[in-house]
């Protein structure tokens, strides 16, 4: 048994860290790396972010796990995971949507035309995608999505709406799931398409969130796209969506932000006094911190279990659900504990100059509310664990 990463993996981690240290010195670094805002930088479009992504491409960090014929280096997915950990630690935009979901699905199922058109652009960080899955009536129950795609000439006509489509207001292309057959079981009538975001008939309207992020409501009114932009086989969309989720289990739950937050808590606890005593000497604080240390370590183990299974070629659906369930709730507990430790001043917003840690905790307390909802709610994760992991005859 060996819990360590291999020598080459460790070397890679060091290499990425050196790269990020270099990037941190650039004048626009603050727009790319926002450790106090997690990977906030991912959710808005800035010249700095595009530049940073192109720099990542130049270093060969995009498409590491892709086959050589598409410009990849056929490395194990673990490198993409390690890269994301380091990006997440400094609050830089993660890789995943383009490289993982879109790229890997196209590699496996896309036509030659789509591969030729999109893969080089993805690898060179020239293109941004928005994922168009959720609808007002289809979130947890995604397969019940209704956005209609009907044949029209040599293409398709889309009508309906999508919601929660993060980055739709700046993305170039839309990765769109639509209903192509209403007569069959809900999972069997969905197809995937690529649609230019600036196509006639698409209206994007902002939704503002508790985390001070923007996401979007997207309306499609007679939007047309050529059949060439259908991804893979007709009505196989649900299979592709699920498969893509499996590729991504590797990379979507970086653990380093939790570790970094815990470190920042220590910095505060060690340097603050209460009633003339350092906080590290207050028994209640000591126990709270000890509990968090233990829980963060547990989160790390749950995540190692995902990576290990994936690196052995498995599909760690249940492990990933466990990891997501535990980690997201922990992240909320951690923010709450830290605000409680800070006391009233923990409530100060980042726009107050003396807000503790630049208002990080006040913000985190709000933004972490999303964690147990986005990308499959905690309730849905429990259903997966119960049904697929434990074989329980769950009904719904």
């Amino acid at each position: 048994m060996d819990f360590d990463f291999s020598a080459d993996e460790k070397r890679f981690i060091e290499e990425v860290r050196a790269f990020l240290r270099e990037q941190a010195l650039l004048p626009d670094a603050a727009d790319v790396m926002a450790p106090n805002r997690d990977s906030d930088s991912m959710l808005s479009d800035t010249p700095a972010r595009r530049r940073f992504n192109r720099e990542m491409a130049k270093r060969g960090y995009l498409g590491m796990s892709w086959p050589k014929e598409y410009g990849g280096s056929e490395k194990s997915g673990i490198y993409e995971y390690l890269l994301n950990e380091e990006l997440a630690r400094v609050g830089a935009p993660l890789i995943g949507k383009g490289i993982g979901i879109v790229g890997k699905t196209l590699i496996r199922h896309g036509s030659d035309k789509l591969k030729t058109e999109f893969l080089p652009q993805i690898r060179n960080a020239e293109i941004e995608f928005a994922l168009g899955y959720s609808e007002p009536g289809a979130g947890s129950d995604l397969a019940s999505l209704k956005l209609k795609a009907e044949r029209s000439g040599d293409g398709w006509l889309f009508n309906g709406q999508k919601i929660w489509n993060t980055s739709a207001h700046f993305a170039d292309w839309y990765w769109l799931a639509a209903r192509t057959d209403t007569q069959v079981a809900k999972h069997k009538g969905i197809s995937l398409f690529l649609v230019p975001m600036n196509q006639k008939g698409i209206t994007v309207s902002a939704i503002h969130t508790l985390g001070e992020h923007r996401t979007n409501h997207v309306f499609l009114d007679n939007v047309w796209v050529h059949d060439d932009y259908r991804v893979g086989e007709l009505n196989k969309g649900w299979t592709y969506i699920s498969e893509a989720l499996d590729f991504e289990r590797f990379t979507i739950y970086p653990f380093s932000p939790l570790e970094a937050k815990l470190e920042q808590m220590w910095t505060h606890v060690k340097s603050t006094q209460r009633n003339g005593k350092p906080l590290t000497a207050v028994p209640e604080i000591r126990r709270q911190m000890a509990r968090l240390v233990a829980q963060v370590e547990t989160a790390k183990m749950l995540q190692r279990s995902v990576i290990f299974s994936a690196s052995q070629g498995g599909v760690p659906t249940v492990e990933a659900s466990m990891c997501k369930l535990y980690t997201t709730a922990l992240s909320q507990r951690l923010a709450n504990t830290m605000i409680d430790i800070l006391g009233a001043d923990g409530l100060l917003h980042k726009s107050w100059p003396d807000a503790p840690d630049g208002g990080k905790w006040e913000w985190l307390y709000r933004s972490s509310a999303l964690e147990t909802i986005g990308a499959g709610t905690s309730e849905i994760q429990k259903n997966i664990i119960a049904r697929r992991g434990l074989g329980l005859p769950l009904t719904n």
């Binding site: 129950d141 919601i163 508790l210 409530l347 107050w352 709000r366 986005g374 719904n396």
Partner: protein, 386 residues
């Protein structure tokens, strides 16, 4: 036992609820959040016209002379509506302090005018990085020929931009309890105030005091340390705060229950999934327990019993419950719950404020333990004697 409100109390509740619905709907809250003065003049005027600004102030001082139960009833409605106003800080907390520690001149100067809503008096207790212990009060009051010279910084002073004065807690000596309270005109030379952007987007301010001269006539309790009176005022205030938490939680929970009945996933209402139904049931238990705790605390105070312990328990439990309830409300709403346009976030942010701003959980737990240990040692002393 009789847990039913009297007819007058029910009328008070209905009237307050109507005032909140008419003048402080959530649409108004959304306009007010993050702005100054941070409350609706119309709502405040409506409260004043109804006599609410003098709710618990004695008849002889120009108020309605009602008790803790009425205060609880009114604040439960404020909490339910998320209705912001200076009521808590001025008509409850400051009025209580002034009526228990003010001399005749001070009482005459302030109580009728707080009761009539002419004056708003705020409170400056918290300080930067400070907790709720008396020892955290560093703001200093130095004796001068005519009174005191105040220096220090206060945080989270509610409605300071509109307040005619604030009761500032300040230190006169090194012993923990060497804390006095001064009525400070916030327009005095040396006072500066600054809005502090915050989690609930309430109108709270940093008040900076630089060599502010305060007349001896504005010292409460004749300038004697008054830690006990301050704590007594806070224990009463806790009942109002806990009631706000219960009201807010009830409303948030009702929203979540309603949503669980109408929102469908997998072809049925999400309330038909036990994961959702059970978490709403858990919250219902929490709320019921806290509602009873708060009522008991108000009753104990009105009966003249020692109510500090039950008031502290009510505030501790109700604010933690409110926080959890608001989180569950967001969770049950799914993605919608995380948007600014939906209402759950309003309750979520308010809940954390209520928990931390006035005697947080740490502080309350300490007080509860002290009181329980005190009681048990008295009990065993009795046992030994008898």
């Amino acid at each position: 036992m009789d847990l039913i409100f009297s007819e007058e109390q029910q009328m008070l509740r209905d009237m307050t609820r109507r005032l909140c619905e008419d003048f402080a709907p959530l649409t108004v809250l959304r306009q007010l959040e993050g702005t100054e003065p941070g409350y609706s003049d119309d709502f405040w005027k409506a409260l004043i016209d109804a006599g609410m600004s003098g709710l618990t102030i004695a008849d002889k001082d120009g108020g309605l002379g009602l008790g803790a139960t009425e205060m609880m009833i009114v604040h439960e409605e404020f909490g339910r509506a998320l209705a912001f106003s200076p009521h808590f800080v001025s008509s409850v907390l400051a009025a209580h302090l002034i009526s228990t520690t003010g001399n005749t001149a001070q009482r005459q100067r302030w109580l009728p005018s707080i009761a009539s809503g002419q004056s708003i008096v705020s409170i400056g207790s918290l300080e930067p990085q400070g907790g709720h212990e008396l020892s955290d009060i560093q703001c200093s009051a130095k004796r001068t020929a005519t009174g005191y010279r105040l220096s220090g910084t206060k945080h989270f002073v509610a409605y300071a931009a509109r307040a005619h004065a604030a009761v500032i807690l300040a230190r006169v000596g090194t012993a923990t309890d060497d804390v006095i309270a001064l009525l400070v005109d916030l327009k005095s030379p040396g006072v500066s105030i600054q809005y502090q952007p915050n989690h609930a987007r309430e109108a709270v301010y940093q008040v900076t005091l630089r060599d502010v001269d305060v007349s001896i006539e504005d010292a409460l309790k004749d300038g004697q340390p008054m830690a006990t009176e301050w704590q007594d005022a806070m224990y009463s205030g806790l009942i109002a705060l806990a009631a706000q938490a219960v009201g807010g939680a009830e409303r948030a929970h009702a929203m979540a229950v309603e949503y669980a009945k109408v929102r469908e996933a997998f072809g049925k209402p999400i309330g038909s999934f036990q994961a959702v139904a059970h978490s709403l049931a858990d919250v219902a238990v929490d709320i019921e327990g806290c509602r009873m705790l708060v009522r008991q605390a108000a009753w104990a105070k009105d009966r003249g019993y020692d109510f500090h312990r039950v008031a502290a328990i009510a505030k501790l439990q109700a604010c933690e419950m409110y926080r959890r309830t608001a989180g569950v409300t967001i969770q049950v709403h799914g993605g919608i719950g995380f948007t600014n346009d939906a209402d759950p976030q309003l309750f979520f942010r308010r809940a954390k404020h209520l928990q931390l701003l006035h005697w947080d959980s740490d502080y309350l737990e300490e007080r509860i333990i002290e009181m329980v240990l005190q009681e048990t040692s008295e009990l065993s002393a009795h046992g030994a004697n008898g």
